[in-house]
């Protein structure tokens, strides 16, 4: 039973991890908490549905379509909304409020276009893989395999490529990007691109694992993802990965009966918030963030 929970936790956690890196990259460059990120994920998931369902393409094609579409949306919004705000030297609060307005517009547009009826991808929900005492559905296996692969790729990207190093460095100090010869504008666009790709992928995987989803599910994911970013240390992409995994595990494992009966599974989201609150009180800078100079 415990191992099953750990496995479930790794599935959820790796999805959180991917999404959290996307949030963290944009925050690192622009100091923008993208409240619309959950709806980016829902957007990616729905586009993938459109390709997988009505157009009868495989999940792989659908996922790529979802990722590409979300990345395009991400870049489009930077050009149309965030760039003009930066030109007006908008401060952190303006950006936060704007992202809330954006989230509202996005989610309602998705509802308008796609309706609120739940949808599912064309995967077999009954096919199960058994590994010792652990049972995983096909969706979970796909999700964890893809997520693991993506996490490794993202880790390599951040560590080994120039772009990755620039994005990480800019989270510390924007002036550093100029030193490496990459313009701030290009770095910004790269951040939105990667962030969009990751949002799309996380959305597709989350929808896959949940089996049935509607345009509102993005917001439900948003808060745990934010919690993961904060847990890992805001501004640290590696921290976001760690935070996501830790949070997913904590959520699932907390329901284990060995912990004095365990948390009632309906309260799993509350566990995410509780972990977040505890982390903020005990170690506000998260696992890998910088100590706040207060």
């Amino acid at each position: 039973m415990f191992l099953q929970l750990v496995a479930n936790g790794l599935v959820t956690g790796s999805i959180y991890a991917i999404a959290a890196v996307g949030v963290s990259l944009v925050y690192g460059i622009l100091r923008l908490v993208n409240f619309a990120y959950g709806d980016f994920m829902a957007f990616g998931a729905l586009i993938a549905y459109g390709v997988n369902g009505p157009l009868h393409q495989s999940m792989i094609v659908a996922a790529i379509a979802g990722m590409a579409a979300t990345a395009a949306l991400s870049l489009f919004l930077d050009a149309v909304l965030w760039q003009p705000l930066r030109a007006r030297r908008a401060g952190f609060m303006s950006l936060f409020l704007a992202s809330i307005g954006l989230a509202l517009v996005l989610r309602q547009s998705l509802l308008l276009a796609a309706g609120s009826a739940p949808r599912s991808y064309a995967v077999n929900p009954y096919r199960v893989f058994v590994l010792g005492s652990v049972r995983l559905s096909e969706a979970q296996v796909i999700a964890i395999a893809t997520a693991a692969g993506t996490i490794v790729l993202v880790g390599l990207f951040l560590t080994l490529t120039t772009w990755g190093r620039v994005l990480r460095a800019m989270a510390d100090d924007r002036a550093l990007a100029a030193v490496s010869g990459i313009s701030v504008g290009n770095a910004t666009r790269m951040a939105w691109l990667v962030s969009g790709l990751l949002a799309g992928l996380a959305g597709v995987l989350a929808a896959l694992v949940e089996y049935s989803f509607d345009p509102n599910f993005g917001f439900q994911l948003l808060l745990p993802v934010f919690a993961a970013v904060v847990l890992g240390g805001i501004g640290s992409a590696y921290g976001a990965l760690l935070g996501g995994l830790a949070l997913g595990l904590a959520q699932e494992v907390s329901t284990w009966s060995g912990f004095a009966g365990g948390v009632n599974p309906v309260y799993k989201p509350v566990v995410a918030f509780a972990v977040l609150a505890l982390a903020l009180l005990v170690r506000p800078q998260g696992f890998l963030g910088h100590a706040a100079v207060r």
């Binding site: 908490v33 909304l81 003009p84 705000l85 007006r88 030297r89 908008a90 401060g91 952190f92 609060m93 303006s94 936060f96 409020l97 704007a98 809330i100 307005g101 954006l102 989230a103 509202l104 517009v105 996005l106 309602q108 547009s109 509802l111 308008l112 917001f219 808060l223 934010f226 919690a227 904060v230 805001i234 009632n264 309906v266 309260y267 989201p269 509350v270 918030f273 977040l276 609150a277 903020l280 009180l281 506000p284 706040a292």
Partner: protein, 321 residues
């Protein structure tokens, strides 16, 4: 189109605007005057409404005792939330406040024996008892209606809500002109400078949070009385975002801007029900709800980008940089 001319409809819109005025006034105190980025305002509204309903229906209290306790519960909720979180950075604080209001909604949805669960207050007591808090209110309302000589209950509620709203607006306005209010504005302007002047910044922020929460509690009470029954999903984050839109629309840092923003919001929200011309006729009427919300989101965006001081705000004193 005949509904458009119906007084009852517009009275309803006016009541909703009044409730939002009180809710947003709380936000004005917290953000407009103390600089606190509270995105969990709807959670305090729920605390007020549920406390009152539970005390009346389950514990048999008089509604007139339960109501102030509902407001107190909201204020205490604000203080409890603030104690561990006010020292956090603004963005962390904002996220935690949303988490807080969602936790309240979760608990209300799942603790069925306490709150009636997802069915809402209809399921609070046995059949027939759930209407107790509203029964007491309806009695009061009818009493006032006779006194005022009105023919409609809607109009009476309108007067009651707005009387309370105006009183609260006036009290807030007065409070902010006191030396206490001056310190609050100093904290908003530059909290380190305020601290170096000997002001206990944390205490002032906590007071602003609790007072704003209390106002949300009052809004919750009126919500309960106007709509008779409510459920946890009535207190979703969307309402907080509406309040923020009203705040931005009216203008930050001006108490009397709040009812203006709420009035415009009520008009947009209600008026868009009757957009019987293209492009709105292209979509089914239930889908128009989405368009309404898109419009609201767009208004927030436009305000933030083009006119952050809102309709009546003071650009010089505006908190958004």
């Amino acid at each position: 189109m005949s509904v458009l001319a119906s007084g009852g409809f517009w009275a309803f819109v006016g009541v909703v605007a009044g409730i939002y005025t009180i809710l947003t006034l709380g936000l004005q105190v917290q953000f407009g005057f103390a600089g606190l980025l509270n995105f969990g305002q709807v959670g305090f509204m729920a605390l007020g409404a549920y406390t009152m309903a539970i005390l009346v229906v389950k514990e048999g209290w008089s509604m007139w005792l339960a109501a102030p306790l509902g407001v107190a519960a909201a204020a205490v909720g604000g203080a409890l939330l603030g104690l561990p979180t006010l020292r956090l950075r603004a963005d962390y604080f904002a996220i935690v406040t949303i988490a807080f209001s969602e936790i309240i909604r979760y608990v209300a949805t799942n603790e069925t024996s306490l709150t009636g669960g997802s069915q809402g207050t209809i399921a609070l007591g046995s059949v027939g008892t759930a209407s107790q808090y509203n029964g007491a209110w309806t009695t009061f309302q009818t009493h006032v209606q006779h006194k005022l000589g009105f023919s409609s209950a809607d109009a009476t509620m309108l007067v009651i809500v707005w009387t309370v709203a105006l009183v609260l607006l006036a009290l807030t306005w007065v409070a902010l002109r006191t030396p206490w209010g001056r310190v609050l504005r100093a904290v908003r302007d530059d909290e380190d400078a305020a601290a170096s002047l000997g002001k206990n910044v944390f205490a002032y922020k906590l007071q602003a949070l609790a007072l704003g929460a209390a106002l949300a509690g009052v809004a919750g009470l009126f919500y309960a009385w106007e709509f008779s029954f409510f459920s946890p999903d009535d207190f979703e984050p969307l309402l907080t975002f509406f309040a923020w839109m009203i705040l931005l629309l009216g203008g930050l840092g001006r108490v009397w801007a709040v009812p203006v923003g709420a009035g415009v919001f009520g008009f947009i929200f209600a008026g868009t029900r009757f957009l019987n011309f293209p492009p709105f006729t292209w979509v089914a009427s239930d889908e128009r709800a989405y368009i309404r919300l898109i419009i609201i989101g767009l208004i927030i965006l436009v305000l933030v980008v083009l006119r952050p001081q809102g309709l009546l705000g003071n650009r010089r004193e505006m908190v958004l940089e």
